[in-house]
Amino acid sequence: MLGWAGKILRIDLSTGKIRKEKLAEDFAVKYIGGRGFNSKILYDETGPDTDPLSPANKLIFGVGPVNGTILCGSQRITISTKSPLSGFIGDGNGGGKIGADLKYAGYDAIIIEGKSERPCYIFVDGERVEIRPAGHLWGKTTGETRRALETETGAADLSSAVIGQGGENLIKYACIMMETGSSASRSGIGTVMGSKNLKAVAVRGRGGVKVSDPKGLENFVWEAYKIFNKQPRALREKEIGTIAGANSYQKAGCMPTYNYRDGIFDRFEQTSPEKFRQDFGAGIKTCFSCGKRCDWLFAVAEGPFAGTYGTGIELGHLEHLGGAIGCSDLGLICHMSKLCNEYGIDVLDLGSIIGFAMECYEAGILGSDDADGLKMEWGNEKAILGLTEMIVSRKGLGNILAEGLKEAPRLIGKGSEKFSMHVKGLSISTNDPRGAKGRALGYAVSSRGACHCRGFLPYENQDGWIQETVDEIFGTGHKVPDRFSEKDKPELLVFYENVSSIIHSLELCLFTSLIPEIQLPGNLAKIIKLVTGLEIEPRELLRTGERLVNLERAYNIREGLTRADDYLPERFTKEAMKEGNTRGQTVNLDPMLDRYYEVRGWDKQNGIPGKTKLRELGLEDVAQELSSMDKVLPD
C-alpha cells in the first residue's frame, strides 16, 4: 500500500505490552485514516460502559495517507477518545510536524489503552518503541517537558505530544500540545491522557513515504500554490495570521463579545489584528510541508508582560481571551495564550468559562467572596489571571470551573446555565451563531459538541460562498444563500460535514483545503489517486465522508444522545443581537434541524440514522447493534 505506513501501534499502559498490528487494506479504504480510523476503533472498543477517565478508555492518535508528503498542509494529526467533557465521542486536531513524523516512524495510528501505575512517556523511535519513566517530568509545563525530552532522547527535530498541569490535574478541557503553539485542544483529550498517567508521546521518524505518482502530485501541489499565492484570504493569513478573520467578524457583527452577548467589541481597535501583528510579531513559522503559512512568533519587548513569547495565536485566542471576556490588553492576551499552552488547557473552553464567571458576577449569581476576593469584572486582569490559576490548580471556585461548561453551571445553580455557551459540553467558538445560520446548525449537530471545524462553512460570512460548492449540491447557477438565510443551509451543512470528514481522515489541514481545486470531492479523489494509486469515484468518496458522520452519530446514539442534545443556548435562539451588522438576528433552529435530519436520512424524533442509510453506507452491523439496544431505527 502506498501512502499508508501499513502498521498500527497498540500500547497497553497497564501491562506495558506493545503490539504492532497490520493495517488491513479494506479498513484503510473504508475509513481512509486519521479521524476515520480513530472513530471506527473507538466505536468498536469503547461504549456506554466506558468511564472516560478509566483505564478502559482509549486515546488514539491517527494520521492519514497524505501525511509526510509534499501536499500543502499534510501533517495534521487527530487525537480521539470518549470525551470526559461531553460523554460522547471527542477529538482534537493539531498541526506541527508530529503527523508527518509518526508516518516517517512507520505507523498510521497509535492506540493507547490502560493506565500506567506511575507517570510515564512513550518514545516511538521507528521500530523501537519504549514506555519510559516520567516522574521527573510530572508537574512541568509543556514547554519545559518538550525541551527535557529533546535533551533526554538526543533526537534531531523530536516531535512530541505533551500535557501540562491541566491534563495532570484532570481539568476537563485539558489539551495536548505539539510544538510551541500547535495544539490538539478540544473534548478533554488532555484530560484522558492525564488520567492514564501519560505525560507525553515523543516521536522520531527517520523513514519516508513513497507515493504512487510523485510527479503528478508535485504538479498538483505546484498549481495549488499558484492559487494560494493570489487568493486574498491566503495572503491575509500569511501577512497577519488567522487573526485576520477578526476584521470580518467585527464587520459582520458576529464577533464573540462579552460571553457572546454582543457581536461587536467596543474596543476592537485596541486589539485589531494589524496592531497585534505589528506590535508583537517577531518572526514567522509554519507547519511542516505548508508553504501557505499562517503562524508567527510573538515576543513582548516592553510592559508588564515583557519577556512573553510563543506561537500559535489564532483567531480563537483573540476572541476568547479578548472581546469575549472584555479584555483589550494585547500583552495580557499574549500572556494568557502562552499560559494556556504551557498549562495545556483549551483556550476556547477556558475563555468561555471565564466569560461565564464574569457574566454570573455581573448578574449577582457569583460574588468576589466565591472567588477568593477576585472582582470578576469584564476584562479585569487580576480576575483573568487569578481564575486561570485557580482552575489549573483546582482551588476553590476553580475546582468547579475546571469541570467545564455543562457541569459547572449545574454545580453553581441559581439559573447560571443561561450564561453557559456550549453544546454537549464543548464551548461555542469563533463565530456567533446568529451571524451565520449554517454554522449555527453545525454547532448544534456536530458529534463532538459545538465544533467550528466539522461544519466549517468557511465562506458563510467572510469572503462569500464558493459558487462551485453551491453548484455541486443544487445544480449550476443556484443562488448563493446569504449568511442569515436558514434555507438551503441544512443541505450545505450536510455536504460540508461529509467533505470535512474526508479532509479530517486524510489529515489535510482545513485551511489549505479551502479552495474548490482541493475540497470538491472529485479533487480529493484525485489526491488519493496520486498518493495511494487507488481509484475512488468521487460519489463513493463522499459516501465515505458520510459514513464517518453516521458512525460518529451512532456512537453518540449508543451513549444516549437524543434530539435534546442537538440544541443551541437560548442566547442564540431567543436573544436578538442588539447592535452591529447582525442586529436583530436569532437562530430558528428547529426547522433547520428537521430538514437536516431528513436530508441525512435520520428519524425526525432523535436523528437516529435509518436502516436504509446505514445499509447504504456499509454499516449493517451498526444498525443491528442499535436495534438490539432498543433504539428504534427508522427505515
Binding site: 508528503t69 534531531a156 519516508g208 510523485p214 513559522k285 508553504g291 503559512r293
Partner: protein
C-alpha cells in the same frame, strides 16, 4: 560545486519543502533524512537555518530546493558572484539552532 547556496534564514519559515523536494528528486521518496538540504531549528525562537550536505550536486542544474521554496530563502550563485557580495554579507546574531541524532 560551481555554485554556492545563499540563504536568508530570516525569511525561512521552517516548512521543510526544500527537504521534501530534494529527497523526492534524488530518491523518489518524501524523506527529510535523505535530503541534501536540512533545516536546523530553534523552535522556541522560530529560527530556521537551511544547511547543505556536502553531497549536494545542485541536482544537475535543476536547483529544485530554490525553485520550490515558498519564502524565496534560497538562491544559487556562482562563487565569483558570491565573492563580490561577501563583504556586505552580515551573518547576523540570533538564537542558535540545534542539531541532534
Amino acid at each position: 560545486m560551481e555554485k554556492a547556496l545563499i540563504v536568508e534564514p530570516g525569511k525561512c519559515s521552517g516548512c521543510g519543502i526544500c527537504e521534501l523536494i530534494c529527497a523526492s528528486t534524488h530518491y523518489n521518496e518524501y524523506n527529510p533524512t535523505k535530503a541534501y538540504i536540512r533545516i536546523y531549528r530553534n523552535r522556541e525562537m522560530c529560527v530556521f537555518i537551511p544547511m547543505l550536505s556536502v553531497r549536494c550536486d545542485l541536482c544537475h542544474g535543476k536547483l529544485m530546493c530554490a525553485k520550490w521554496c515558498p519564502e524565496k530563502v534560497l538562491t544559487f550563485l556562482p562563487w565569483e558572484e558570491v565573492a563580490k557580495r561577501r563583504k556586505q554579507m552580515d551573518l547576523g546574531k540570533f538564537p542558535a539552532a540545534y542539531f541532534g541524532e
